[in-house]
Amino acid sequence: MTEKEIFERLLEKFKDAIGEFNEEVIQPFATIKAAEVEKVCTYLRDNEAFEFDWLSNLSAVHYPHSEEEQAEQKEDELEVVYHLYSFKHNHKMILKTRVPVSNPKIPSVAMLWRTADWHEREAYDLLGVEFTDHPDLRRILLPEDWEGFPLRKDYVTPQTYNNMTVPYPEEKGDLHDE
């Protein structure tokens, strides 16, 4: 099945939960509502027509607002991208969903695909997406006492961590002169 066909089937089944479909890009994707992620994914995994048995990737992106959007007092958004693949049917699908930074809650899919467990922990670790009903949502790469989410665009690198200097120390010479 092509992405277009899958999207149409989803639209038929879930209606409001499904947003728009973009096939201008190399990998066509569908946007869905954050609250419905788990329902849609369960359907895609268990329905015989799709049988998406493999979550090849789960990643997140931070979209800061542009100046125009700032004027409209729009909030920064976090986007989570799901790359699904079916070994049986050899077809794939990409789902994207967005949540506001102030309330970044998305239902976890870790119980559908076990691989999502660590992927979601990474997205939480680096971008601060909160996956509800995740079995063990804590930092995976950074130290447990780390503050902030480094891959957000507005992240400020700390000066020290555990009494260690984080920025490049001046006594090591100036590398800025070019």
Partner: protein, 162 residues
């Protein structure tokens, strides 16, 4: 029969305590391989048969308690730095540190935007020899080890320091 047996038969060798201690220490610097990134691959290649660290008396020990030299090979993250210090403290004296590659020398490619990288392992442990390169070839690491040996040979334990 070795040279010592044939040529030195019945003779006495005179030397200073310092020299013989240093000779012993420089002769077998057992290493704790601290492989953290791609430098570790070069370090392993140095230990393998083509370059063969055994011929200069060095081989890797899995425990800090049995090692004399810590070869920090790779990117030291802030998370790893505290663990690195702990392992360094577990090594018995005399202990030495070789900083291998740009990352452990100064942060390497992460020097500017590496929010998670320690900008040089010398921020947390004293370093004896820096080996530049990204990653350094085995020849460079072996050169670094010989430099460390030279440094060890100059140590003064009993005689007064000049």
């Amino acid at each position: 029969m070795s040279d010592i047996d044939t040529k030195m038969d019945g003779n006495i060798i005179l030397t200073s305590i310092d020299k013989i201690l240093n000779w012993g220490r420089a002769g077998s610097p057992w290493a704790m391989g601290f492989g953290l990134a791609c430098c570790a691959i070069e370090m392993m290649a140095t230990g393998a048969s083509h370059f063969d660290l055994d011929r200069i008396g060095m081989f890797f020990r899995p425990s800090p308690r049995q090692s004399d030299v810590m070869i920090v090979a790779g990117t030291v993250t802030l998370k790893m730095a505290s663990r690195l210090v702990r392992l360094y403290e577990q090594m018995p004296d005399p202990k030495y540190v070789i900083s291998m590659g740009s990352c452990s020398n100064c942060g390497g490619p992460y020097w500017q935007y590496g929010y998670h990288v320690l900008k040089g392992v010398d921020q947390v442990v004293p370093v004896d020899v820096y080996v530049p390169g990204c990653p350094p070839r085995p020849e460079a690491l072996i050169y670094g080890i010989y430099e460390l040996k030279k440094k060890i040979m100059k140590e003064q334990h009993l005689s007064k320091r000049a």
